[in-house]
């Protein structure tokens, strides 16, 4: 190293992306995630067939040139349904996680920084929500308002809030006692300033990691609820309904259930890798030390 000049500063986001793509784990995760996002976004152009068009004469065909992943019992192209199913999965996962993060962040920071009684109240709320198993909760809600994509989104969002809220609360509590917060106070920082400028950036990193790792869970939940018939209504393609169809025909046409399972596995791997790599990258101290 002969060049001793300080490198030109990148923006915080640029810094994160730069180190992320240099980490093989992060790069793999990022590529898979981008592929999933792209296939969901451009589903109408990528999918060779209409995912809900029936073609009964060609039903239950094996993988081949005409149908890459074969067809289901109604002759619908499985590959097209997988692509379109990804769209549904992300349509559920992104607003769910986004909403859960926002609400969790707000409640968690209030609970962690505010007075004891508010903390107790919010924790009680978290515990109450958490005490219902998600599927049971979903069953009850679906029984009340009927199955739909929006029901799935709301149910998963509500049950995810405590996960984020608790992490934020714990982080805020320990940050609140940190000496640099006292130092900032001694220099005249107000409570809103402490919360937004100093606590928030310290919480966002771990939260981003948690969110990346949580996306597969939510996608899985959506698939699970659709599998149970509580999610998206047929004929809308979803990975869960693909699994459901495949499950019924597993003896004769195993490729159906495989086709529904692989995107789930890929999603899990992609987002988990991304989350793992993010963990090393969002902390400026660990940056560039995790990957080789």
């Amino acid at each position: 190293m002969t060049d001793l000049t300080v490198p030109k500063p990148r923006s915080e986001l640029g810094e994160i992306v730069y180190h992320l793509v240099r980490d093989p784990l992060g790069l793999t995760g990022l590529v898979i995630v981008l592929l999933i996002l792209a296939s969901a976004l451009f589903a109408p152009w990528i999918a060779p067939y209409d995912p809900i068009a029936l073609n009964v004469p060609d039903r239950l065909q094996g993988p081949g040139a005409a149908h890459l992943l074969g067809t289901d019992q109604l002759g619908r192209d499985t590959f097209s349904r997988v692509i379109w199913g990804g769209r549904v999965a992300l349509q559920v996962a992104l607003p769910t996680i986004g909403g859960a993060i926002l609400i969790g962040l707000l409640l968690g920071m209030i609970a962690g920084y505010g007075p004891k009684w508010i903390d107790n109240l919010i924790v009680l709320l978290f515990d109450t929500v958490r005490s219902f198993p998600t599927v049971m909760f979903a069953l009850a809600v679906v029984a009340l308002v009927g199955p739909s994509l929006n029901t799935v989104i709301v149910v998963i969002m509500v049950t995810s809030v405590p996960t984020y809220g608790r992490v934020v609360r714990t982080l805020t509590q320990s940050l609140k006692e940190a000496e640099f917060i006292t130092a900032e106070k001694s220099l005249g920082a107000s409570t809103p300033r402490i919360m937004t400028v100093h606590i928030l950036p310290n919480v966002l990193g771990p939260l981003a990691v948690l969110a990346a790792m949580d996306i597969p869970t939510v996608v899985g939940l959506e698939a699970g609820l659709s599998f149970l018939g509580m999610g998206v209504k047929p004929p809308t393609p979803s990975w869960g309904s693909l699994l459901n169809d495949g499950y019924n025909l597993i003896r004769n046409t195993p490729w159906l259930i495989i086709a529904g399972g692989i995107p789930l596995i890929l999603t899990t791997i992609g987002f988990t890798f991304l989350g793992e790599a993010l963990r090393d990258v969002v902390d400026p101290k660990l940056r560039g030390k995790g990957g080789k």
Binding site: V6, E179, A183, S186, L187, G188, P284, K285
Partner: protein
């Protein structure tokens, strides 16, 4: 006029064992453009005193009586918004551990610019001021270093940055809570020298808390000796260090390795422990450990003048005068 005038301040903590009387009738004056040192062992109330001045007290702390006058106004009666307006602009603080005093996920520049939020300046001007302050405290290449994170600096550098941030608004009073304790000896000397120069340049007063007698002697104009929540002796550094009037001050000076002439294996200590601040002994607070205790010590001594501007809370003063 005194920048800071603390009169008869008493602070206690509510604990499960009862009321812990951390400070009792503490009076300390910090004159304009002077450096006043507070020295005392752990648990003597130094930190409680600072937290009371800057009003960042623990939730279970309670000010019993007294006043903390800053430029003639009592800080203890001010509202939260008023006191916050003073923090960082009129009264600033530097903390003990430089490794903990900066937000780890923000660049130094961002933190230095953000803390100027009260000033109606453009971002470029604020940045310029941050650069100037870093240069002033002796950070080389400050322009580039603003883009670095706290962990990319050494402990000594971080303490300089903390000092730069505290002095950014040119406050009238800087409170330094053992700012060199976490640093090694050479850095300590550098920071002390720099503080002296900065105090001169900015024209502020400094309240310097330390348990290092050598540093106090080097840096301060006046010194206050505290023991178990009370001021036992106060005066100019010269008077207190050359002719200590209180037995505790004497014992403290004798324990300072810098003062010991002969080689010894065991450093001298003051026998005994500090008293229980929940169940205070009546009479002189130091009596139980005092080598020169006598009958009068069962009564609490008042602050008496040992010489002009040099006071001590010890019954021996009157005795020696008459003896």
């Amino acid at each position: 006029m005194a920048v800071l005038d603390i009169q008869k301040l008493s602070v206690s903590y509510a604990t499960p064992r009862g009321e812990l009387k951390a400070l009792r009738d503490v009076s300390i004056t910090v004159p304009d453009r002077k450096i006043v040192g507070i020295v005392g062992e752990s648990g003597c109330g130094k930190s409680t005193l600072i937290s009371a001045i800057i009003r960042l007290m623990a939730p279970n702390a309670h000010v019993g009586s007294g006043q903390v006058a800053f430029k003639g106004e009592d800080l203890l009666t001010k509202g939260e918004a008023q006191i916050r307006a003073l923090r960082g602009t009129q009264i600033s603080m530097v903390f003990q551990d430089p490794m903990q005093t900066h937000n780890p996920v923000l660049t130094v520049g961002r933190q230095m610019i953000d803390i100027q939020y009260r000033d109606a300046l453009s971002k470029a001007e604020k940045r310029k001021r941050a650069v100037d302050m870093l240069a002033l405290v002796g950070i080389p290449d400050p322009e580039a270093r603003l883009n670095q994170y706290p962990f990319e600096f050494s402990g000594g550098m971080r303490q300089r940055i903390a000092i730069a941030m505290a002095l950014m608004a040119r406050p009238a009073l800087l409170i330094a809570d053992e700012p060199t304790t976490a640093l090694d000896a050479t850095l300590e000397v550098q920071i002390i020298k720099r503080l002296r120069e900065l105090q001169d340049e900015i024209g502020c007063s400094i309240l310097f808390i330390s348990h290092h007698l050598g540093v106090i002697a080097e840096l301060c104009d006046e010194v206050v000796v505290m023991y178990a929540g009370e001021v036992v002796e106060a005066g100019s550094v010269r008077d207190v260090f050359h002719s200590p009037a209180h037995p505790y001050t004497r014992a403290l000076l004798e324990c300072d390795p810098g003062h010991i002439k002969e080689k010894t294996r065991n450093l001298p200590t003051i026998p005994g422990n500090i008293p229980d601040l929940v169940n205070l002994p009546s009479g002189c607070i130091f009596a139980a450990r005092c080598p020169r205790r006598f009958d009068a010590c069962t009564a609490r001594p008042a602050m008496a003048e040992a010489s002009a501007g040099h006071g001590t809370a010890c019954h021996l003063i009157g005795m020696e005068m008459t003896a």
